[in-house]
């Protein structure tokens, strides 16, 4: 078991676009916030990931590699549509940011996550970092499967 301490932010501007983008497909066998079970496929690798309830920015996480052929079948078993996005990994001031640009019904949404050693660990903000959304459950990938960004007032305001 690992403990995951992450903070999540909106992304502004285009300064993050230069990094190479890797396609991610993921679905949820369980979207219950108390025990999320995620299937994720990244190119020729796949994982099954179980996360416990979030306490602040901290969450228990268990991750196991599985065959991609299994994962493709498990995605079809999932509750709700598959969430597709591209991920860019960007180093900034010694920290690693993951910038996810969503596709399909979540197109227009871009979020950045940083994994931290503790909840109050200091980090330097990249120029493209927007407002923090760590505690907004709408931005959980598990929520985006069934309540996608295209249905939000924010998305309509941008359109």
């Amino acid at each position: 078991m690992g403990i995951e301490i992450e903070r999540k932010f909106l992304v502004v501007g285009d300064g993050w676009r230069a990094a190479p983008a890797v396609p991610y497909a993921q679905g949820y066998l369980n979207r219950d916030k108390l025990r999320t079970v995620r299937v994720r496929v990244v190119r020729d690798q796949a994982w099954l990931t179980i996360k416990g309830v979030s306490v602040g920015a901290t969450r228990a996480e268990f991750e196991y590699p599985i065959p991609v052929a299994d994962a493709e079948q498990l995605l079809a078993l999932c509750d709700g549509p598959v969430v597709r996005k591209t991920r860019r990994v960007i180093e900034h001031a010694g920290a690693k940011w993951e910038v996810d640009e969503f596709q399909g019904d979540n197109a227009g949404l871009v979020v950045a996550e940083i994994e931290l050693p503790s909840e109050d660990a200091a980090f330097e903000r990249p120029g493209w970092l927007g407002a923090e959304v760590t505690h907004d459950a709408r931005y959980f990938n598990s929520s985006l499967a069934t309540a996608p960004y295209c249905t939000w007032p924010e998305a309509r305001a941008r359109a």
Copy 2:
């Protein structure tokens, strides 16, 4: 992925008791019949198992070994109490039967399962085999976590 074809029966008499009994503990990260996610611990081994919806006696099944230390923590994350039982494996006329004797809130319930190559495959009935319950969802282990045998009219009738 495997396909699981199983038939399930009640058990009568005591002819099955002589076989050695192995303790099982299991819980469910998801009890949704469309996509059950089970954590199981058997002595010093543990597995994460995902099963799809049952079509007749047939069900898609994906099983992955996981560390026992992870499994113990995952059992604590599960939805509903841990189901505890002992399993006896009994050979009869060339077929392998698994006889599960439940404990705790499911004490008094004993069921036997046979895995078959096809839904209509022939098999010989052991003397201790009772009525078939393959299609009765109350006997799903995933149901026994939250609607245990002690709450059923059958259990009260036996008491």
